[in-house]
C-alpha cells in the first residue's frame, strides 16, 4: 500500500509572533505611504521606498511563509535564483538608457 504521507516538520509558533509581524507590516506600510503623503523626492524617497519594501518582503517570507525555520537546502534553492532578476534589471537599465538616447537623437526632445 502507498505509505501515508509523513508530515513535514509542522510549523508550530505562537500566535503572538504572527500578531507582532502583522503589526510591523502595518507600521511599515504606513511609513511607505507617508513617504508619498509627505512628498519626499529624489534619492531619499527612493531609498526609503526600497528599505520599507525589503523589510516588508523579508517579514512576509521569513515569518508568514516560515522560511526562517526551513533548512538551508530549500532556502537557497528558492531565494538565490531571484537574485538573477537583478542581473536582468542591470541589462535593461543599460538598454533603456540607450533607447532613450537614440530617441532623443533621432526624434528630438518630443516624439
Amino acid at each position: 500500500m502507498a505509505p501515508v504521507e509523513a508530515h513535514a516538520e509542522q510549523q508550530h509558533h505562537p500566535i503572538k509572533l504572527y500578531l507582532l509581524v502583522w503589526g510591523l507590516l502595518f507600521v511599515l506600510s504606513t511609513f511607505s505611504y507617508l513617504v508619498d503623503y509627505v512628498g519626499l523626492q529624489g534619492y531619499l524617497r527612493w531609498s526609503l521606498i526600497l528599505i520599507f519594501m525589503v523589510l516588508k518582503a523579508g517579514l512576509i517570507v521569513a515569518v508568514f511563509m516560515h522560511m526562517a525555520w526551513e533548512r538551508l537546502a530549500l532556502i537557497y534553492a528558492i531565494l538565490l535564483p531571484p537574485l538573477l532578476v537583478l542581473v536582468f534589471v542591470a541589462m535593461m537599465v543599460s538598454e533603456s538608457t540607450y533607447v532613450l538616447l537614440t530617441r532623443l537623437l533621432f526624434f528630438g526632445a518630443a516624439p
Binding site: 510549523q11 509558533h13 508568514f64 538551508l72 528558492i78 536582468f88 535593461m92 526624434f107
Partner: protein, 240 residues
C-alpha cells in the same frame, strides 16, 4: 509496493545543519528537501517561477518608463481620491495594501490553527482571508473603472507617457487574477477543512488521496506570495 521514501523527523534531526547540511542534503543522491513534503516543495518551486513572471513585468515597466521621452504620469495624483473636497493621494491604494496585509495575517493564523487541528477556527480564518481578498479585487475593479472613465487606455492617457496604461493594466491585472485564483483556492480548501476531510481522512474527489492539514499551509504560501508581489507593485508602480 516499494518502501516509503518518507524521511521521519528523527532522520531530519540527525542531519547536519547550516552549510554542511546544505551540502549533505543536495549531495545525498536522493530528495534534496529532507523535511519538506512534495506538495510544499512544488508550491515553492511554482512560486519561484511566478517570481520570474512578475519580475519580467516589472522590468518591462522599468524599461518603458526609463526609455520614454514623455513625462510619466504622477501616480500620486492619478490615484488620488477626493474625500470631503480634499484630494488625498494614493488613499485607495493604501487601503488596498492594508486589506491585503490583514488577509495575510488571518491566513498565517489559519495555518497555525490548522496544525492544532482546530477545524472551525481554521475554516473561519480562511473564509475571512477570502473575504479580504474579494474586497481587494472589488476595490481594484473600482480603481480600474475610475481610470477607464478618466480616459486611461493601454495605448494612451490624458497625462503623459502612453505606456502608463499598458503597464498598469498588465501588472495590476495579472496580480488581480492571482488574487482571484487565490480566493477560489481558499474557498475550496476552507470547505474541506470545515467538512472535516483532514480529520476523517476523506479522499479527494480528484486525486483520490487523503489530505492533510498541511494543505492549509500550502494554500497559505500561495496567498502570502500574492501579498508579497503587491509589496513590490506598491513600491515600484505606485510610490516610485
Amino acid at each position: 509496493m516499494s518502501a516509503p521514501l518518507k524521511p521521519s523527523s528523527l532522520e531530519t534531526l540527525s542531519r547536519p545543519s547550516g552549510l554542511a547540511g546544505l551540502a549533505a542534503d543536495w549531495a545525498s543522491d536522493q530528495r534534496a528537501f529532507k523535511n519538506v513534503s512534495w506538495g510544499k516543495a512544488m508550491m515553492w518551486i511554482f512560486l519561484l517561477s511566478d517570481t520570474f513572471i512578475f519580475g519580467c513585468f516589472l522590468i518591462a515597466y522599468m524599461s518603458a518608463r526609463m526609455a520614454t521621452t514623455v513625462p510619466w504620469p504622477n501616480p500620486s495624483e492619478v490615484f488620488a481620491l477626493e474625500i470631503g473636497g480634499v484630494q488625498v493621494p494614493l488613499i485607495l491604494i493604501a487601503i488596498m495594501t492594508f486589506v491585503l496585509i490583514s488577509s495575510s495575517g488571518t491566513m498565517a493564523m489559519a495555518v497555525n490553527y490548522g496544525y492544532r487541528r482546530d477545524r472551525r477556527k481554521t475554516a473561519a480564518l480562511m473564509l475571512l482571508t477570502a473575504l479580504f481578498g474579494a474586497t481587494f479585487v472589488g476595490m481594484q475593479a473600482f480603481e480600474w473603472s475610475k481610470l477607464i472613465a478618466e480616459g486611461v487606455r493601454p495605448w494612451g492617457n490624458p497625462w503623459g507617457a502612453a505606456q502608463f496604461g499598458s503597464t498598469f493594466f498588465m501588472i495590476t491585472g495579472f496580480h488581480g487574477t492571482h488574487v482571484t485564483i487565490g480566493v477560489i483556492f481558499l474557498l475550496i480548501i476552507a470547505r474541506k477543512v470545515w467538512r472535516g476531510d483532514f480529520d476523517t481522512e476523506r479522499r479527494g474527489f480528484f486525486t483520490s488521496r487523503k489530505g492533510h492539514y498541511e494543505i492549509v499551509e500550502i494554500t497559505g504560501l500561495y496567498w502570502h506570495f500574492v501579498d508579497l508581489v503587491w509589496v513590490f507593485i506598491f513600491a515600484f508602480f505606485y510610490l516610485w
